[in-house]
Amino acid sequence: MVAVSSTDAFVVFDHVQKSYDGTSLVVKDLNLAIGKGEFLTMLGPSGSGKTTCLMMLAGFETATNGEITLDGRPINQVPPHKRGIGMVFQNYALFPHMTVGENLSFPLEVRGMGKSDREAKVKRALDMVQMYAFINRRPSQLSGGQQQRIALARALVFDPKLVLMDEPLGALDKQLREHMQFEIKHLHESLGITVVYVTHDQGEALTMSDRVAVFNDGRIQQLAPPSDLYERPDNSFVAGFIGENNKLHGTLEDVSGGRATVRLTTGELIDATAVNVSTKGQSTLVSIRPERVEYKPELLPAGAHTIDAEVLEFIYMGDMFRTRLRVAGSDDFVIKSRNTLGQRMLAPGEKIKIGWAPQDARALDPQ
């Protein structure tokens, strides 16, 4: 998906800043444009400002500075109930004193909709999440997954153009979470709504999103589609936050056309792609995904550098092998290899040579 320009965007954060105490900024100069129908995830560790951004969009917090526009209309002064934004909360926030049907009917009632229209809409929304049979239950009589579906149906029942989700799957077990991820994704696709989703679970972010905004320290560190985020992280925070990652410290020996040669602190030379480092002699952190490391020399591209490694530990994980190596003096270099036919199991103590294609190793800022 291409980046959205602020002219055709549905939601725009324009130089938004937020401070709670007047002495420090929780959100520092946020600029973000979200396209119509997009599924955008705000991903980041706790305290990174992602939830604050969502709350500002929903209207529960006001921006200290800057402007948020929704469908071309500035909404800083619009109270939450006039924004028409659906929201799914982490603890579902289903009203415990109302039945499922009453919960769904509530947003329609406050909009003054007639009884027959309400019933039709509630039925449609419940059918959408296959929960119509539960219309007369109380939320406390439902399981976590069922409550989640009802919360989803309630956020959608009044046909909002924008739906916000604040870690909606956080309380579910792993299997149900994965199932719900697909369900939410399919709902998004079939309804054509815009979704802003907040999570700290990178797997969730990568699975569901069109684009992911990685937050840290009140700033967006990278805004990119999931594959870019994983394979081409812009900086060492994103590289470290998304997925498993091997890090090697060194200095830039040579840079030409993005291709870089890095001399490790222990003296070895490795190949990498220069991302946000450019000058010779600059210190750098090279990030390599464990599954992109190769230890069979015949599979490496011609002229690739290799370095020595010693097998410390070999873990059989079923579909994968996970091998911990000592590389360049560090004990936590991990490689992953698929359990394909004829794949060799490495033995601890074995000496091997490893290498990688230059585009898979990214020379980043040393942080």
Binding site: F89, P96, F106
Partner: protein, 417 residues
Amino acid sequence: MSQITTNGDLTTSDGRPLKAALAAAQFRAKRRAFFLVAPLLLFIIVSFILPIGQMLHRSVFHDGFAANAPDVKAWFAVNPDGTAPDEAAYAALAQDFKAMKADKTAGIAGTRVNYTLPETRSLITATARVADDLAPPYKDAFLALNPKWGDAAVWQAMRSASSAYTADFYLISTDRERAADGTIQKVPENTRIYIYLFVKTFLLSAVITVICFFLAFPVAHLLATLPTARANLMMILVLLPFWTSLLVRTTSWIVLLQGQGVVNDVLIALGIVGDDGRLKMMYNQAGTIIVMTHVLLPFMILPLYSVMKTIPPSYARAARSLGATSWTTFRRIYLPQTLPGIGAGALLVFILAVGYYITPALVGGADGQLISNFIDFHMDKSNWSLAAALSAMLLGGVLVLYWLYDRLVGIDNLKLG
């Protein structure tokens, strides 16, 4: 391994019935639990259940006359209600009076009859004093002594008092009496006090409960939503009254509200009222309401607070995001969820107010007195049975309210903290 015996009960692998095995296995734990609660159980029995049982017993039992007038009691037993007293009745009475004089029990017997029919105590004690002079024919002797002895109402009162167990005290508590022919009727209008007092007590308590609710709700909400440090400080302020003597608090209200008190002085200084128009806020119902509201306020705040504390802000946010105005959110989402706290607080304040004694006694004046002040009055007068009957009716009223609450709201919803 468990087996099923022929009659379908489960047994353990060695053939014992499963239920017996379970009971044996849990016996030690149950015994230990029992010993842990035993001191409290004993304390409650001695200090709570026994006295209340005693009180309820006293409200229907008084043998002051029954124990000391056995002969006339026997006459009442064989002659049905409404029989005019004959010579045998007067003879029996004379016999009892002689015994009373000898045992010096005329006073207590007279007191008992006096409860049922006022102004009969002196009749009985005076007669007992001269009992030895009584001679046949007894009827004439009695009537010569005092014509009241021919009054059917006196005989009706003695008949009633001749049974140790009696509902008379409950009749008095509901402003009723026995007519000369034994039927129950209301007492004359100008002596009816208890029904009015009960109604006033319950009404004043309801007013106090409602005022407490309106004052406590915002405070409890603030307490539940403030950051912890400031909420704690506020909680101390809420609890502060508990650390001062009730007497001191009540007296300070007197200082504030009395005719020459601080509030009136300030109003006069501001020119709002003239010196001859000082507000009467003390020694009347207004005084009782103001001071009791203040004293009972924490009992409303605390249950409300404990319920509000458990309502996550996300409910209100969800309602707002679904399009509800802040008023609709409060009315449809927040208020219904605080119901258990409202119920608990209201029940607590109401029950405490209904039985409140010291505050109305100090600041109530004449028309701010509640039923408990009259219970105390009768205890001072040693009419324990009437005090007990009034208390039992109060207890009954509270239990009825409790039952109503259970039917309407559900006692499971009660949350006291």
